[in-house]
């Protein structure tokens, strides 16, 4: 339990604090310029889940997501932050409606960006179909915001990672920023082990989990855009780079991504493990990647990605 939430540690600016240890509300406030974040549908509205109440389960006043608007580097931004400690950040009907509403408002009001602070296991299974519908509505709303020219930036740095339908939503956005502690995938380790057996994926093998789903591997594979330290200020700085800079969203962009994925599959499809992929990418001392600090890792990654580009004149990697 984090007794310091809401009240920054003495002498420490909110932005210098660990991103992973911060609550959703602290992340939303800490990412915005000091004092600029205003929460919408704040806890006093008591927008709690009717499904959880029907199941006689505890509810939360914000249904596990904080939404609102603030300023980032002086520009107006919308922010949604999932609370990973409430039901694993899972998306229920109210939770999803808050995310969808924020994105729809963004499509109308066109802020400089929408920041999606994701920490979630995906659909809240208690809410079944309502949760699934919510995910598809969020996905549609992401594309509507992007079509309106609003960059949607995903930040992942919580201990629960970003999984399930929200993992898919994340990859539908303009850019993703991750830290080493963060994980991004669709099926989680336990799900894969349950469905395919421990020989396929040993969920207890933390090294395996992180080198398959963690920030470093996602960065090397080109699935995320920035790899940062576990600091609110580092996430904030990275998000600033994308303000008013939407990524292309058209047929050509989709075709280019498909071509990139096809080439990646052809190149690494036979690899059994992330280590094999890193070796095939000719990353220096591939086995040491997980031990490198952020600066050294980004250097090693830059070298490997540059030589990959030379080897593939089309620059697909």
């Amino acid at each position: 339990m984090n007794i310091n939430e809401g009240a920054p540690l003495d002498g420490m600016a909110p932005s210098q604090r660990s991103y992973q240890e911060a609550s959703a509300r602290e992340r939303a406030r800490g990412l915005c310029d000091a004092g600029s974040f205003t929460e919408w549908l704040d806890p006093r509205e008591r927008l709690t889940s009717p499904h959880l109440a029907a199941l006689d389960a505890p509810v939360a006043f914000d249904d596990g997501v904080v939404i609102g608007a603030g300023r980032l580097a002086g520009e107006r931004v919308f922010v949604a932050a999932q609370e990973g400690r409430f039901m694993g950040g899972a998306v229920g009907e109210i939770h999803g409606a808050k995310l969808t509403g924020l994105l729809r408002r963004a499509a109308k009001e066109r802020p400089a960006a929408v920041l999606l602070v994701l920490e979630t296991g995906g659909v809240r299974l208690h809410e079944a179909n309502a949760g699934l519908v919510a995910i598809s509505e969020i996905q549609r709303a992401v594309f509507d915001a992007r079509r309106a020219g609003v960059p949607v930036i995903v930040l992942i740095g919580g201990g629960n990672g970003c999984y399930g339908g929200m993992g898919i939503v994340a990859r539908c956005c303009d850019a993703i920023v991750m830290s080493e502690a963060a994980r991004l995938s669709v099926s989680g380790p336990e799900v894969i082990e349950t469905a395919r057996g421990v020989e396929e994926f040993d969920a207890k093998d933390r090294a395996l989990v992180w080198r398959t789903m963690g920030g470093k591997h996602r960065y090397l594979l080109g699935e995320i855009d920035r790899f940062v330290d576990d600091e609110l200020s580092a996430f904030r700085e990275a998000a600033t780079m994308y303000l008013n800079r939407p990524a292309p969203l058209d047929l050509n962009a989709a075709l280019a991504e498909h071509a990139r994925l096809e080439q990646r599959l052809a190149r690494f499809g036979t690899c059994e493990d992330a280590l094999d992929i890193w070796a095939a990418m000719e990353v220096d001392e591939a086995a040491r990647i997980t031990a490198l600090d952020t600066g050294a890792f980004l250097e090693a990654a830059a070298t490997a990605l540059a030589s990959a580009r030379e080897g593939h004149a089309d620059g697909a990697l």
């Binding site: 339990m1 939430e5 809401g6 009240a7 509810v59 006043f61 400690r85 409430f86």
Partner: protein
């Protein structure tokens, strides 16, 4: 879930802060929403808890919380997921402090 309600009167009051929320509904933890309201000087407390049968303990913890604090005209609403009395007391102290600082 068990619903508990307590009302305390004869408390000092002050008008610092509008509302604050602390904690999270996670196993062994709770969230507390604390708001200033015109309640004729009373402090009204509503609790939803996943653990049944501890009304006496809740009452004792809340009695101690409101003593020596200017919590007249304050509404406290709790969503509890099995927090121990020690955790509840810490979160209550945190909520009172956050409400006070929210006015700054």
């Amino acid at each position: 879930m068990e619903q508990l309600s307590f009302s305390f009167d004869g408390l000092a009051s002050c008008d610092r802060g509008v509302y604050a929320i602390v904690g999270v509904v996670a196993s062994g933890d709770l969230e507390i929403l604390i708001e200033r309201h015109a309640l004729d000087g009373r402090c009204e407390i509503d609790i939803q808890t996943s653990v049944h049968g501890f009304e006496t303990t809740w009452r004792a913890v809340m009695q101690r919380f409101v003593s020596n604090r200017p919590l007249g005209n304050t509404r406290v609403t709790v969503n509890d997921s099995g927090a121990t009395p020690a955790v509840v007391s810490l979160r209550l102290a945190q909520a009172a402090q956050a409400l006070d600082e929210a006015s700054a």
